[in-house]
């Protein structure tokens, strides 16, 4: 996307001169004290705060996983006892979902890029943006305190009546932590919706938006509509746990399956909160490293919305074995099948974009290619689970664990790492070490598959999830999985070391190291506090890498011109 930066007369020369000099002012140099960071309302600084916080929680959640895989390396319980193991998988789930995956791409890359990509100075509500980070931190601190003071053992799903009556762990406090953190998502979602509706630069029509924005928009809709249901559910759980009001526990008049309906009404859409932003990143990566417009732009854009809408109607596929009506199960099953269509549309369009491209296999592109493969496996194994006859066998086994890790880790974390490497030079003005980056990407890909592929097999054999000890015959596949996890761990540690290193010693990036299109690549790296030196006007489609041969040239409408004057 090309743009015209209209600089007010008189400032033009100075602005360009300072941009070229070493000491030009950027959002990073605009104040150095701790207050300038903790009280900032700059979306870019808040994105950096989020990046630091989610990396911290990724390490915490990852270390729980390390202990779990260590325990599961052998069939017997020889590293930790059952109580501890149950707390480990619960805390792993809670930390990774609520404190890493949900905020990962929206709160870090979204926060940094949404305003820049639409030509705005900031989000619509900068202060609410800061508040949402503080809410996240408060929720995070509560969760950390719980981890230190004994943990919680209900599983991240908090199924009743175990959570509300029988568990002897910190359920109420965890519920409060998750309840609070939910408001952080709601506020971020609200901020994105308003920003994308109201703050697009003149000329930046909906169908000129980068697909990353479409994905963020779909995600924000889910955040705003689904997260309140989680808050309500957790609130009801707290009422029953603390005041013994019978809602879910049948001994005091409640219905335990009601909890599952409410919980999955949030948590299934939440799965799409965790994958749609990754799909948005994918479109950007594929376009930038093929130097092409994304094949079938509008189909990719609308498939995000289709996934967001369908995502609200499939929660019952988590409940085929609860004894819910088989007719209800059939409806949920067929709707679940439909989700495969927009997902497939995305995969095919990304693949088609490669055709006749000018492809560079950089680190971000390696992650993007890995995403296509792993998401295809993650998505297709979802079809297994949507079929009632098959789900009755593999539900609550390691097959499910492997499936959602292919989507959540194999796809979303790959997209996050790809996006982080892609925009790292924009965020900090320095290049990461490319050879090391590619090496780490390959290590992550190999480690990931070795960790989770054996879990599909052991799940089909019938090993249930959340098992501290297991029969001998599942041993080999679990050992393979643990071995893979150690490789994956090394792969994840590498960027955590070389990215901070590059902040000081990395090669200077310049405004557009990738030769990519998009408003973010028209400004300096790192950007100035207000992103642009003046009002922005957009007069081109997204991904305008060149003319489309044999296509009628885009004719500018006169209304577009009048907007410039505004």
């Amino acid at each position: 996307m090309s743009s015209t930066t209209h600089t007010p007369p008189g400032q033009s020369r100075e602005a360009h001169a300072s941009a070229a000099s070493e000491e030009r002012s950027t959002y990073l140099t605009d104040g150095y004290g701790w207050k300038s960071w903790l009280l900032t309302v700059d979306h870019k600084r808040i994105a950096v705060l989020y990046l630091i916080s989610i990396s911290f929680f990724f390490l915490i959640g990852g270390s729980f996983a390390v202990l779990m895989r260590l325990e599961l390396a052998t069939p017997k319980g020889d590293v930790v006892d059952a109580e501890t193991y149950n707390r480990l998988f619960t805390m792993h789930g809670i930390v990774m979902i609520f404190f890493f995956l949900v905020p990962s791409i929206p709160a870090v890359l979204g926060n940094f890029l949404v305003p820049i990509m639409i030509g705005a100075r900031d989000l619509a509500f900068p202060k609410i943006n800061l508040i949402s980070w503080y809410i996240y931190v408060v929720g995070g601190l509560i969760t950390l305190w719980i981890a230190i003071s004994g943990g919680v053992d209900t599983g991240w799903t908090f199924y009743t009546p175990y959570s509300s009556t029988y568990s002897n762990s910190q359920v109420a406090m965890t519920a409060i932590g998750v309840f609070i953190t939910g408001f952080s998502s709601i506020l971020t979602g609200l901020n994105f919706i308003v920003t994308i509706h109201k703050m697009r630069a003149p000329g930046l029509t909906w169908f000129r938006l980068p697909l990353f924005i479409w994905a963020q928009y779909a995600t924000a809709l889910i955040m705003v509509l689904a997260t309140p249901v989680l808050a309500t559910t957790i609130f009801l759980l707290g009422l029953e746990r603390i005041f013994r009001i019978g809602i879910f526990d049948p001994t005091i008049g409640g219905d335990p399956v009601l909890f599952q309906h409410l919980f999955w009404f949030y948590s299934h859409p939440a799965v799409y909160i965790m994958i749609l932003p990754g799909m948005g990143v994918m479109s950007e990566l594929i376009a930038a490293f093929t130097k092409k417009r994304v094949f079938g732009y509008s189909f990719v854009a609308f498939s995000s919305l289709a996934i967001a809408i369908l995502g609200f109607m499939v929660w019952g596929h988590h409940m085929f074995t609860t004894g819910q009506s088989p007719y209800a199960s059939m409806v949920f099953s067929v709707l679940t099948m439909l989700v495969a269509v927009p997902s497939a549309v995305k995969v095919f369009n990304w693949t088609a974009t490669l055709y006749k491209g000018s492809i560079e296999m950089t680190t971000p592109m390696l992650y993007a290619v890995a995403f296509i493969g792993l998401f295809t496996i993650g998505g297709l194994t979802g079809v297994f689970l949507g079929i009632m006859a098959v789900d009755r066998h593999v539900h609550d086994t390691y097959f499910v664990v492997a499936h959602f890790h292919y989507v959540m880790v194999g796809s979303m974390v790959m997209a996050f790492l790809g996006g982080l490497h892609f925009w790292w030079p924009k965020m900090f003005g320095r290049m990461y070490p490319e050879a090391l980056g590619r090496f780490a990407a390959i290590i992550v890909f190999v480690g990931f598959n070795l960790t989770f592929m054996p879990q599909f097999i052991v799940g089909f054999q019938g090993m249930p999830r959340r098992y501290h000890v297991y029969p001998e015959e599942f041993g080999v596949f679990n050992l393979l999985s643990s071995a893979g996890a150690s490789i994956l761990g090394v792969g994840y540690l590498m960027p955590m070391l070389y990215l901070p290193w590059s902040l000081k010693w990395g090669k200077k990036a310049g405004p557009n190291p990738w030769g990519a299109k998009g408003l973010e690549w028209t400004i300096e790296s790192p950007p100035i506090t207000h992103n642009f030196h003046g009002p922005v006007v957009v007069d081109e489609e997204a991904y305008a890498y060149g003319e489309i041969p044999h296509a009628p040239k885009f004719v500018e409408r006169p209304e577009e011109e009048s907007k410039v004057v505004r």
Binding site: G323, M361, L380, V383, F460
Partner: protein, 318 residues
Amino acid sequence: MWKDIPILPESASTIAPHVDLIWWFLVALTVFFVVLIGGVVVGLASYYRNRNDGRKAVQIEGSTSLELLWSGIPLVIVLALFAWGTIVYVATLKAPADCIDMTVVGKQWMWKVQHPTGVREINDLHIPVGQAIRLTMTSEDVIHSYFIPAFRVKQDVVPGRYTQMWFEPTKVGTYHIFCAEYCGTGHSAMGGMVTVMERVDYERWLSGATGEAPEVAGKNLFESMRCASCHPIDPATKDIGGAPPRGPLLAGIYGHEIDLKGGGKQVVNDEYIRESILKPQAKVVLNYEPVMPSYDGQLGEEQILQLAAYIKSLKGTP
């Protein structure tokens, strides 16, 4: 070493081959698409690699016909899969008429099973080969899930309600029973083995163990709890202690529909009997007063199942 490692789970029920057929079709489909997409991606990525030879990317808008093609093909495939999976699922929902009924009560962290002859076992399950078995299950505490991988069946066991599952073993052997729904500290230890035996061996096993048949235990309970002071069990009974019976006749009602006070109908099944014992006011029979006290807390889940078995055994015309 490798020959001891099973890649596939045992297939030992009538349902298993049907599930496995869908399974293998899905595996083939997944491998096909992963190889196709992976191959195309790797092929295109290497063929169109930027070789710094001045070749530029060719811009392509998109293609509606291609979009329709690659939405349509997945749509047809998944709808066909849905239909296939649903047919198999529905066909295996209803137990055959000649099935043996057993009850399973889950509690942290054990399975309590009772055979129709009254024999009880904890965690393990002994069943005859070639015989359909129907389990009626409930839980005394949290949600559990009864899972026999070799039979490809799993059913959550939910407190406060009955769930059912059935299977027909086809192969003599021993297979795992797991609890598949996380239920607390001992979750991974909650399970045992199902032993599928020849029918003669099963009869021998049964005769080696003793136990009261559930309907006999139910009859004893019925008497000791003095249920008969309100509920007649003989259609000829016209008065109890000089007054008309305060509760409805129980003989012959099981499986039939009754009219409810305030309108509506209800089929008398295990679920309704359980509700009527624990929450008698919930659905009162037409022409009776809501005078029955609740037995919540006085009767355990197994005892309620025994009472239901007794009521089921009472013959007569309602």
